[in-house]
């Protein structure tokens, strides 16, 4: 069982290296995070906060946009693309179960994403430490950021597999992935903010809004990271909610894990129903 899972995972990683997916993802993350670190750290000196920590706070917001996008791009093709190319028929006629196949893909894609995150963000962290801005606690923040980004990525990888098993054409799955990204990462927040602005002191703001944040992995991720930094008062915007929450921010981490598990279970159920 494990050897088959690792075989599938290994193939995904190899393909990721060959078509330069890993390189591209790592470069995008490195470029954006370096830009944020160099440009965004200008005010850090006056505030007396560790520059690494400030950078992590900006990178958390960057991750919210980029990591789901990279994950969906890695995953949308995983099942329907293999159906289109005829390789799914061939692979599943071998003695490998569909769930093993799916887990193999997930392991491979997660490792691809993890590598890109470690290299991309690690480059920025290394540069800051080398420049003498880093401290041990700041590095811990970086590690937390990368670890939770991987979890966030896993959430959206599994979402991608769900979309990929629901559609029979990879073009349809690509369109659906873009729509999901837009909804979860951009529109969901806008809708929540709109509702908040419309009625800042109502039942929505106190009882619905905090839980609505937990239900979206992107928001749960941002909430947990900013709360863990304890710098939310510096960041303003949505980050400010962390202090007024009716629950422990750790719950956001739990929610992220549960959502990833649910999406993965959902895609496992769906792939069993596919007739390739």
């Amino acid at each position: 069982m494990f050897s088959r899972i690792f075989t599938v995972a290994g193939q995904e990683i190899r393909i990721g290296i060959r078509n330069r997916w890993i390189l591209l993802a790592a470069m995008i993350l490195a470029v954006f995070s370096l830009a944020l670190a160099l440009l965004g750290s200008a005010p850090a000196g006056t505030l007396g906060v560790d520059r690494l920590t400030i950078t992590v706070a900006s990178l958390a917001s960057l991750s919210v946009y980029l990591v789901p996008l990279i994950a969906l791009l890695l995953a949308f093709d995983a099942i329907c693309g293999e159906i289109e190319r005829g390789t799914l028929l061939m692979t599943l006629s071998c003695p490998i179960s569909r769930v093993e196949f799916l887990i193999g893909k997930a392991v491979g894609h997660t490792l691809v994403l993890a590598f890109a995150l470690v290299v991309g963000y690690g480059l920025t962290a290394g540069l800051l430490v080398a420049a003498g801005y880093g401290s041990l606690s700041g590095l811990a923040d970086f590690v937390r950021l990368i670890a939770t980004s991987i979890l966030l990525g896993a959430c959206f990888l599994a979402t991608g597999y769900v979309l990929s098993s629901l559609t029979r054409q990879s073009r349809t799955a690509a369109a659906a992935s873009v729509a999901v990204w837009l909804m979860m990462v951009v529109l969901y927040d806008l809708a929540l903010l709109g509702a908040l602005v419309a009625n800042p002191s109502g039942v929505f703001a106190s009882d619905v809004f905090p839980y609505a944040i937990l239900l979206n992995p992107a928001d749960a991720f941002r909430l947990f990271n900013l709360a863990a930094l304890g710098t939310s008062d510096l960041m303003g915007g949505m980050a400010g909610v962390a202090d007024a929450l009716p629950f422990d921010p750790l719950l956001a981490l739990g929610s992220l894990t549960v959502l990833a598990g649910l999406a993965m279970a959902g895609s496992a159920l769906l792939i069993k129903r596919i007739a390739p």
């Binding site: 075989t7 393909i15 005829g86 390789t87 028929l89 006629s93 003695p95």
Partner: protein, 306 residues
């Protein structure tokens, strides 16, 4: 064929039906294949060949009937261990090399890659093993697919149109390989459109038409069953045309030749009548019914019945 192989067919399909939203894709099909048999499944596009393959592999659920693959249920672990499949069209990841693709499938089948890699040599891809699949020609990709199907000595190989789009030399290679593996006791079931090339290379022929199995026999018997006439074409000079036609009992005249049918039993008698005409005859074409004709006979007969 030994007693044991008769007792336990590699593949048994019994009264299988499959309907897709009102359309009967496979309609009450029964046959069984024994060890070492090379069987060709013929049928027009949409006759149900691929559907039947997918049912045998366990990808599609049948509505009625029974399928056993080496005594196991289709799609079960035991059945998949002994079965190999080459789909009609496969596009391997273009950025991987042939060797990597074969290693991948060997691992999935629980076979050591070191044992599987010599297969690349057998299908003539030894030199291309380290090149990316994206650079392969259609024939090379098909041969890579075939190498994949040979990993681990399966007992049943299903090949869905293995020679479509291949040049004559590649086709030859494919059939040589099929003969070789059937000689080792593996049952090979292949579907094809290219009928004439199957003539000497299969032991048995199944013909599917509109989901129904309309023929299941060796080619020579199918030919006799169809009772198709032999078509003769006698070339002569234009001025002798009428005379030749008359002495051979009529037939269609076209400028310099007379065309007519004769039964298989009358073949020799007719040929001697032609040679009796002596110098009047310039040339003779004898066209025995090909597999194409036999196939057309059986599938159109089924069409009339329906």
């Amino acid at each position: 064929m030994t007693e044991t192989s008769l007792a336990a067919p590699t593949l048994r399909v019994d009264g299988v039906c499959k309907t897709f939203s009102g359309h009967k894709a496979v309609d009450d099909v029964s046959f069984s294949l024994n060890a070492g048999e090379r069987v060709a499944m013929l049928g027009h596009n949409g006759a149900g060949k691929t559907t039947l393959f997918k049912i045998v592999l366990g990808f599609l659920k049948r509505d009625h009937g029974d399928v056993t693959v080496m005594g196991a249920a289709p799609g079960s672990h035991d059945a998949r261990v002994g079965t190999a499949y080459l789909p009609e069209s496969v596009a391997f990841p273009a950025s991987l090399t042939g060797k990597e693709v074969l290693t991948f499938y060997a691992r999935l089948k629980g076979e050591s890659p070191a044992k599987a890699l010599p297969l690349l040599e057998r299908v003539g891809l030894a030199e291309a093993a380290k090149r990316r699949v994206g650079t392969y020609s259609k024939g090379m990709r098909q041969r890579l697919g075939l190498a994949q199907a040979l990993i681990g000595r399966p007992r049943l190989i299903l090949l869905d149109e293995p020679t479509t789009g291949l040049d004559p030399i590649s086709r030859q290679t494919v059939y040589e390989l099929i003969g070789e593996i059937a000689g080792q006791g593996t049952t090979v079931l292949l579907s094809s459109h290219a009928l004439t090339e199957l003539e000497a290379r299969t032991d048995r022929i199944l013909i599917l038409s509109k989901g129904r199995l309309v023929a299941d026999d060796v080619l020579s018997r199918l030919r006799a069953q169809a009772g198709l006439p032999i078509r003769l074409k006698v070339w002569t000079r234009p001025e002798d045309l009428a005379h030749v036609s008359e002495s051979l009992g009529g037939g269609q005249m076209n400028g310099r030749s007379v065309e007519f049918n004769c039964n298989a039993d009358d073949k020799i008698r007719t040929l001697s009548a032609i040679s009796a005409l002596g110098s009047l005859v310039e040339d003779v074409d004898v066209h025995a019914p090909s597999l194409d004709d036999v196939y057309r006979y059986f599938s159109s007969a089924a069409g009339k019945e329906a």
